[in-house]
Symmetry: C2
Subunit: 222 residues, 2 copies
């Protein structure tokens, strides 16, 4: 293994630490909502965002240094550029988790609009997409990346179903409108997390296959 | 001017062409809603997304080639990495414009919930933030970048105001719920556009000042 390859592996390891933290934040934010755990929501809002922002800068600096010191050839440069982009995606995941935790902080002291079944399912689904998109990057596995892109429509369906239910609640009981809107925000932030996973997977396909698939976003919202 | 500097300028030029297209898509999507122009909404959905996706790949390839051929030193590498990230942000702006245009397609044939005054204002504000964030990058102007970051809270206030009004409409007239939810989607997509501008501005500050400002996102949603 060359020194560059070794350094590149170290950089990927750090990216996966970052990914683990971002995934944990998303999982915790939804858990805080489902379990009505105000302390956990507060932990997501306060502690973790700084850590993610700090890690993002560290990883980007390390990536730039790698390029400056080892002058990698085009294929490694593409991998490093990809790391910089994924890194930026992961930082935003942290932002979405914070948004969800803040919605949880609003909802926890108030009566439930409906049992939370679809949102945890959507959350698990989005996190699995994210993990798979990162795996597809590590293993240069275009098939897995295609499968991630294909799952984007399932997330959209889940979101549409949640939207329809919430619209029904809001229409039949005006007192639920503000809480239902917050639940809608949670669903939209989860959708955005799945979008990030899809973006990563599209990039993997572009690298592996040298092929651009039509970006599968822009489906009807809500 | 060295060959690298010249090539870097060319790359920036292409990024600004991309930015112009993405800004135009956002402006057109909101215009289609305000003017009830179904043809314009359709144009945003169909024509422009492919063009933006194609341009994104071209710019990224050119950036990688530049790094491979000219082995720039660290500060130019950082600029190129920044171009790759902005490029990715701009592509997603196209996605948000498509989401807005699709909401417009739902709303155009239906009666108006309320006069559209805040949404066009929010759209203009977000587009100006985006233009300024790109200018701050071109001119390495940290003060302008700081000003963009500061404006993020204005966008949040506009969104909060829109949300409150829509909640009032939904609460007092259940028949408006589905249309109000679509208008909410438009506001959230505009908020996300302002977030992209803020991300770009934060990166500019990091480059220019070698300083990380606390990411001003994660404000309460809705």
């Amino acid at each position: 293994m060359t020194v560059l390859e070794q350094k590149l592996n170290e950089l990927k390891e750090r990216l996966f630490v970052m990914a683990g933290i971002a995934e944990g934040m998303v999982a915790d934010s939804v858990k805080s909502l489902v379990n009505r755990d105000a302390a956990l929501a507060q932990k997501v809002v306060e502690t973790d965002e700084d850590r993610v922002n700090h890690l993002e800068n560290e990883i980007e600096d390390a990536a730039i240094n790698l390029m400056a010191l080892y002058q990698p050839e085009a294929s490694n440069l593409r991998t490093i550029a990809m790391i910089i982009k994924i890194n930026s995606d992961l930082e935003r995941l942290g932002d979405h988790a914070v948004n969800i935790a803040e919605a949880a902080q609003f909802l926890i002291p108030r009566p439930a609009v409906k049992p939370l079944i679809d949102l945890p399912r959507m959350s698990e689904f989005a996190i699995t997409m994210l993990k798979d998109s990162l795996d597809s990057f590590t293993r240069a596995d275009a098939d897995l990346a295609y499968s991630v892109c294909g799952r984007d429509s399932v997330v959209d369906s889940l979101k549409d179903q949640i939207t329809r239910e919430l619209v029904t609640h809001m229409t039949s009981d005006a007192a639920t409108v503000d809480r239902a809107m917050k639940l809608m925000m949670v669903a939209l932030n989860l959708e955005r997390i799945a979008d990030h996973a899809t973006n990563i997977a599209e990039d993997v396909i572009y690298i592996v296959k040298g092929e651009v698939i039509k970006h599968g976003r822009g489906e009807p919202q809500a």
